[in-house]
């Protein structure tokens, strides 16, 4: 039973309501579904819709995306065009006009494909709380969440250089389905060999994970089929796959190398 829905018009007020125990809600795609099924677990909701923490800004290649920026706004942003395929692989248009970048950090796998991208991009998360603001790497937020009373206000990332961004998502149908395996990566090459690699995986663990074993295989070698197959097999050491209605844990591990290869070679 919901007894109050707050729609604070400032970040400070939102932090205050959150610190008082209200359940934060951004787009509502997760929380309202729980409200509708009677499972939300908190009598008070705090909407971030009017807290003034949306919008995309760019300074050179440094992008800052406000937490309540919707996935539809990311999809339409010319500055963030490299993320368009990834965002369009998430849910459907009527969900993307509600769901937010900040909220995506808190959805359970196999959802949260943008969070997988943010992990590959080594994004920084800006957080406001009752005791001031802090910044942490996105992997810390994905692993630990934020403290009660804290509000994610923005993510910051460097737009990858042309040709260094890779994304591929395997799902049960072409659109509007959760990840069986999602692969996001920033991989730089020079002289035909990989010089830097940051690969993140979705759908294969309770939260988005780095494929550090695969990254190690790629460094110093060309992005070719046999190298990528070896990297894909190595990546099985980085995952904790699970069974759900979309795929079994066994299947996820089985097809991971295929999709890791397809992320780079199509």
């Amino acid at each position: 039973m919901i007894t109050a829905v707050r729609t604070p018009e400032s970040l400070a007020a939102a932090v205050g309501h959150a610190a008082a125990g209200g359940r934060l809600m951004a787009g509502g795609t997760v929380v309202m579904a729980q409200v509708n099924s009677g499972s939300v677990g908190s009598p008070e909701l705090v909407s971030l819709r009017r807290a003034g923490i949306g919008g995309i800004s760019l300074d050179g290649s440094a992008a800052r995306i406000g937490a309540t920026t919707t996935l539809a706004e990311v999809e339409e942003s010319p500055e963030l065009a490299f993320l368009r395929d990834a965002v369009r692989s998430i849910a459907s248009p009527a969900i993307r006009s509600l769901a937010t970048v900040g909220g995506n950090l808190f959805v359970p796998q196999p959802y949260g494909d943008l969070a997988v991208c943010l992990l590959a991009l080594d994004a920084t998360v800006e957080i406001a709380g009752p005791d001031g603001s802090r910044e942490v790497p996105v992997d810390v937020v994905l692993a630990n969440g934020v403290a009660p009373g804290e509000v994610v206000t923005a993510v910051r990332l460097a737009v990858p250089a042309p040709g260094t961004w890779f994304y591929h998502k395997a799902m049960r149908r072409k659109l509007n389905s959760a990840a069986i395996v999602a692969v996001a990566a920033v991989v730089g090459t020079a002289g035909g060999v990989v010089t830097s690699a940051r690969i993140a995986l979705g759908g294969v663990a309770p939260r988005p994970v780095r494929a550090v074993s695969a990254e190690g295989v790629l460094i110093g070698r060309p992005l070719e089929t046999d190298v990528l197959d070896e990297a894909g097999r190595a990546a099985r050491g980085d995952i904790e796959p699970f069974d759900d209605a979309y795929a079994s844990a066994w299947y996820r591990a089985r097809v991971l190398p295929v999709h890791l290869r397809r992320a780079f070679l199509g």
């Binding site: 919901i2 109050a4 829905v5 787009g27 509502g28 409200v35 909701l45 248009p93 009527a94 969900i95």
Partner: protein
């Protein structure tokens, strides 16, 4: 906390009503305003039959807490016809036999309206993406996609 007064502009008319805490936009449209086109299917954002336009964008109205969108503009299927005449999408659905049981139709048409507002000349692929969140359990997707493409053609000068 008591119910709250909410103001919305619905289909070009100002509407004021009371909403209990946590009421969805869908419930407000149906229960407070008597607008029954948007349907309650799954209440989880999975089926799309509650799709309406919120400030011009398609949304699952079951996932919108109505108190958080006070002052917004909403367009439902009831606001699509003009002066008693079906609009191009409605006419194309009717003439193209794009409804079977009809339960998904209101959401399908609103997703189509949202698409054509932004993209008057969509490809078949664009249409499929636009209705990717709208489930038709009669599985009549072929005629629905054809009807939306037909509506786009009817709208072209």
């Amino acid at each position: 906390m008591a119910s709250q007064v909410v103001n919305l502009r619905v289909n070009e008319r100002s509407r004021e009503f009371l909403a209990a805490p946590g009421t969805s936009l869908l419930s407000s449209l149906r229960d407070a305003l008597g607008l029954m086109a948007a349907k309650r299917g799954c209440a989880q954002g999975s089926c799309g039959t509650c799709t309406v336009l919120l400030d011009g964008r398609p949304v699952m109205s079951c996932l919108v807490a109505v108190e958080t969108v006070d002052g917004a503009s909403v367009r439902t299927l009831e606001g699509v016809a003009r002066d008693g005449e079906l609009d191009e999408v409605q006419a194309a659905f009717l003439e193209g036999f794009a409804t079977q049981c009809g339960f998904c139709t209101a959401g399908m048409i609103m997703s189509a309206e949202a698409l054509l507002d932004r993209n008057p000349d969509p490809t078949r692929e664009d249409v499929v993406e636009a209705i990717s969140g709208n489930v038709c359990r009669c599985t009549g997707y072929g005629p629905i996609v054809d009807a939306i493409l037909d509506a786009a053609a009817r709208r072209r000068p």
